[in-house]
Amino acid sequence: MKTITDFFAFVLRRPAALFGLVLLFIQAAAIVLAPLLATHSPVDANPLASLQPPSAEHWLGTDVSGMDIYSRIIFATRINLLISVVAVTVAFIVGVPIGLLVGYYRSWASTLVMRILDFIQSFPVFVLGMALVSVMGQEIWNVAIVLAVLFIPIFARLIRAEALSLRDRPFIAAARCSGATDRVIMFRHILPNALSPAIVQISISIGMAILLTAGLSFIGAGVRMPTPEWGLMVSGGSQQMILGVWWVALFPGLAIVFSVLSFAVMADAVRDYIDPRGDRLR
């Protein structure tokens, strides 16, 4: 069986994947060691030190309320990754069984479920996000739930597509002849063979979630000040950008870029790793 050590050995042979892995470790360090790494409190305003450029005291400068940008970026890693990981985990846990059932059983009920998923996906993301957050309140958990709802159709569709083609494969017929029940066929035969694309999608979705969280905060539908969150910080700095105060928006923006990039690159690496066809080509 493939193990986690094998995976690391695999990553070490690929520069792009290695780069992604290093970025992931930096983020993990920021989450665990935030109080040690930060030079200031992420939420203490100091109007006297408003909009200061990067200096020895404030490495990446301060924002309009005089909060230290470097420290806020560090602490925001917690919020952003927490929201993203929770959202994607929930979406995976809910979406995968839905996709499996809908793909395996063909009835009016499956069609109905698919139309509901279509409905969710056809909604503009930000309109849906704003609507849900305004109903439920601007809490980080609500942002996570919004994102989970948005991602459930993605996982459900991926698994459904796989299940649809696997269902008619001869090994499923052979399993039925061996006395396998529907439940066994779905969870023991189809699911393990259908999971690869969904696992790759996890990394991609986490990247998307980070971007969407930031986007929701940017338009005011995400978390609220003074919670440190990358999108919120970009939003706060965007007004000063034209005044030549570039550091307020730029640095959290870069944090988003590198975080999303790290997950996207890891998604590629995971896909190459779990795809057996990739094995044969090497």
């Binding site: 494969r169 001869p170 090994f171 017929a173 399993a175 002849c177 063979n193």
Partner: protein
């Protein structure tokens, strides 16, 4: 070039992939008007050889030594442009699975016309006429209408003819047919090869037929060369080879291609044992296509199988024989009719009740690899049906039975921890059998157990099935189009065509004196080597 220059000369050719040498000093030549058979099992290097002659080695293969001369010209001395001309022009390759070689979204007439216009200055209308003319030459009935068909609307044999037509456009000197008829029905295979060889003779082309079927060699080839592990191990004129192969490997191949001396022990003749174990009565299964057209896949089929008896259900693709098998094991719901197992109609009972009967009614699936869950180990695969056996709950008992089954199908115990992709096709087939036999069923449906296997593996599987019949007193429905294996395995034969059984009888009688025209046609298309060696 003088008329005596061979069309194709391969001299001491070695080809390697990385450190891996796949062809070792191959030397051969092909003259005008000659049909050469290259025979070998999977991995012998036949296809690499064919591709090398077109300078189309797949995936980083390189010529280590030796030379290839086409019509006296060395491939290595040619410019890239000259080689390109060679590929489409002088040498034509016809591969397996013609449908995948055709563009699915354009009609075949247009595709062939395009190839013509690439080589000759022709207007669109003239090219189409020329294409239709060519279709007629390759034996396509109603060519005007066929020209407007898309590849998916054609049968495999028809698609193969189109590809042959394309290959003939440029007037090639050499035809390389690489397993060109693999997967086609016997009657179609004979038609396609007859056509190909006739065209070769007519235009004085040389043909190299690459195959693993000695029957094809016996019927069509002037000379034969046997390949094994990248070497040519034997060269002979075909009649000489069939009379007395010069190498032990040749002897082995020829022996494996022969039908096994027929009858096994007849099933018991007591009245009790002669009572049919399985009786199919008036089975009907119709499929409706999306356009509302009804296909009568199985149309009022009846037969019976006694304990210890093997009934072969033979027919070409589309005859409905596989559908019959699937209806019996209830992978498909039948429309009407009955399947009596020990006098109980198994079609009428609910799924749950039938599940307990699955222990006694098993099926061995056609394609060995795709019928095994790729993520399960052999142990788990073989143990799965044991869930049907209430006595098989303890892991120890299950493990013991799995070992016993692997032993029964002559697989070493160590494969238990392997995954299907780590096994050869023959081993996968055996795993499929071990699995079907694990619950010690009384009745087994074998769906095409011998197709797509190498000659020697096929012979091994046939021997294995014969042994199992004897040891387990199985009642077997043996679905196949491989008549050679029918001779070796079946007591009785039922010939199926268009969903109906057209003739049934004892195996020897059917082969000796077929009474139905269709049966005669099927037997006529068979290429048993006995016909040429006797």
């Amino acid at each position: 070039m003088t008329p005596d220059t061979p069309l194709l000369e391969v001299d001491n050719l070695s080809i390697a992939y990385g450190e891996d040498t796949v062809l070792h000093g191959v030397t051969l030549s092909l003259a005008r008007d000659e049909v050469l058979g290259i025979v070998g099992e999977t991995g012998a290097g036949k296809s690499v050889l064919a591709r090398a002659m077109l300078d189309l080695l797949p995936g980083g293969g390189r010529v280590v030594s030796g030379s290839i001369r086409v019509a006296g010209q060395d491939l290595a001395d040619m410019s890239e442009a000259a080689r390109r001309k060679l590929r489409g022009g002088t040498v034509a390759l016809i591969g397996t699975d013609a449908k995948s070689l055709l563009d699915p979204v354009r009609t075949v007439g247009v595709q062939v016309a395009d190839v013509m216009r690439a080589h000759r200055k022709l207007g669109a209308a003239d090219a189409r006429d020329a294409a239709i003319d060519l279709f007629r030459k390759v034996g396509i009935v109603d060519p005007e209408k066929r020209a407007d068909a898309y590849p998916h609307q054609l049968s495999g044999g028809m698609a193969q003819r189109i590809v042959i037509a394309m290959a003939l456009i440029t007037g090639p000197r050499v035809i390389l047919a690489d397993d060109a008829t693999l997967g086609l029905d016997a009657t179609i295979q004979v038609q396609v090869l007859d056509l190909l060889v006739a065209r070769c003779r007519e235009f004085g082309m040389g043909a190299m037929i690459i195959t693993h079927d000695l029957g094809i060699v016996a019927r069509y080839c002037d000379r034969v060369e046997i390949m094994r592990e990248g070497r040519i191990v034997e060269k002979a004129a075909t009649p000489d080879f069939l009379r007395a192969p010069g190498t032990p490997y040749g002897v082995e191949l020829l022996g494996a291609a022969r039908a096994r001396p027929a009858p096994m022990a007849r099933p018991a003749t007591t009245v009790e044992a002669r009572r049919p174990l399985v009786e199919v009565v008036g089975l009907v299964k119709h499929f409706k296509t999306s356009s509302g057209h009804v296909i009568r896949a199985v149309d009022d089929v009846s037969f019976r199988v006694s304990p210890g008896e093997t009934l072969a259900l033979v027919g070409e693709s589309g005859s409905g024989k596989t559908t019959v098998g699937q209806c019996i094991v209830r992978l498909l719901a039948s429309d009407s009719g009955a399947v009596l197992f020990k006098n109980q109609n198994v079609l009428g009972i609910p799924d749950r009740a039938f599940r307990t009967l699955r222990r006694d009614i098993q099926m061995v699936f056609q394609e060995p690899y795709v019928a095994l869950n790729p993520r399960w180990t052999v142990e788990r695969l073989v143990a799965e049906p044991l869930g049907l056996d209430p006595d098989m709950v303890s892991p120890g008992a299950r493990r013991a039975r799995v070992r016993e089954m692997l032993d029964l199908v002559r697989l070493p115990a160590r494969v238990a921890t392997s995954f299907p992709h780590e096994l050869t096709a023959g081993e996968q087939k055996r795993v499929g059998m071990a699995r079907a036999l694990a619950t010690r069923p009384a009745f087994v449906v074998f769906d095409e157990p011998t197709t797509a296997l190498d000659i020697r593996v096929r012979a091994q599987i046939i021997d294995l099935v014969r042994d199992l019949q004897r040891e387990m007193q199985l009642a077997t429905l043996f679905i196949t189009h491989d008549l050679n294996s029918v001779r070796s395995l079946a007591h009785n034969v039922a010939v199926m065509r268009n969903g109906k059984i057209v003739e049934t009888g004892e195996t020897e009688r059917i082969f000796a004196a077929p009474s139905h025209d269709y049966t005669r046609m099927l037997l006529g298309a068979e290429l048993p080597i006995e016909r040429f060696t006797a």
